[in-house]
């Protein structure tokens, strides 16, 4: 029982952690682009 639970737990944890890390990085890049666009519209 423990082995089966471990296999599912490791898979779920790894996929969720990887997805969350990608989502965070994506959000960071998006916000940087928005900030730069905002800054250039203010100065331009």
């Amino acid at each position: 029982m423990g082995y089966a639970i471990a296999a599912y737990f490791v898979t779920a944890a790894a996929l969720v952690a990887y997805g969350a890390a990608l989502a965070r990085e994506n959000a960071r890049h998006r916000s940087t682009v928005v900030q730069k666009a905002h800054r250039s519209s203010n100065t331009g």
């Binding site: 029982m1 296999a7 997805g19 990608l22």
Partner: protein
């Protein structure tokens, strides 16, 4: 001084994606497709969890046999990731499109993740049934080799920096690495069934009531795979775009 090779930032499709955060039209379309996939994934995951819980117990192995509903789907995801790497690489070589190169990187990274999880769940299953974590069995050995080949691809991409030469080399490498997939799939038959690893699954080889959970496992992990590849592709496009923007803003030295 004129650079010997054309900078990656001046290649064919780098022209006018600046208003879209660096995403090519294909990548924008992929981003739009990603959202519904996410919701579908949540629903399928719940159904999958219920199906695995309800699946009948195997008479010989007991509960540990339920690893069947996660281990082969991870293998199919890994294969698919490396096939995407090869297709992306070939399209890059043929059309010179950077978005295809970025797709190749995404396929390799998610493929390596799935391959890693296959190499983790397999030994867990082996420990419970064979009594040991690892055996230098043909299937396991070729799988480990496949993992090393595409891990090396990712290391190549992260350490050699951007550029058309790296992209071309990586594309060829990704295509050649694909040879290991049919070898890995048929290695049990090649070794005349002397492998400890069970034979490849065939239609009707699963017990009663095990087909649906297995199908749902493939659907769930397939959707997770597609979602992660699309997200990774978008991240790569935005990361490259941001790097170029920063390079343009830096004063000349």
């Amino acid at each position: 001084m004129t650079p010997m090779t054309k900078p990656f930032s001046q290649t064919k499709d780098d022209s006018a994606h600046t208003t879209n955060g660096g995403l090519s039209p294909l990548e924008q379309q992929a981003t739009r497709w990603r959202q519904p996939f996410g919701w579908l994934l949540v629903v399928i995951t719940l159904v999958y969890a219920w199906a695995v819980f309800q699946a009948p117990l195997d008479h010989t192995q007991g509960v540990i046999q339920k690893i069947l509903y996660v281990h082969p789907p991870l293998a199919y995801g890994a294969y698919l990731g490396f096939v995407i790497t090869a297709i992306g690489g070939l399209l890059y070589l043929w059309r010179g499109r950077e978005d295809c190169d970025r797709l190749a990187i995404s396929g390799a990274e998610v493929g390596v993740l799935f391959c890693t999880l296959m190499l983790v769940t397999g030994p867990i299953w082996a420990r419970g049934t064979w009594g040991r974590w690892w055996s230098w069995d043909p299937r396991l050995t070729v799988t480990l080799l496949l993992w090393f080949v595409y891990l090396a691809y990712l290391l190549l991409r992260s350490f050699s920096g951007p550029g058309p030469r790296t992209a071309r080399f990586a594309a060829i490498y990704g295509v050649i690495g694909l040879v290991l997939i049919p070898l890995n799939y048929y290695v049990i038959e090649i070794f005349d069934n002397r492998s400890m690893h069970p034979d490849n699954l065939e239609r009707g080889s699963l017990g009663d009531g095990m087909g649906w959970p297995f199908l749902l496992g493939n659907l769930c992990l397939g959707f997770a795979f597609i979602y992660l590849v699309l997200l990774r592709w978008e991240v790569e496009a935005r990361r490259v775009f941001q790097q170029r923007q920063e390079a343009l803003e830096e004063p000349d030295t």
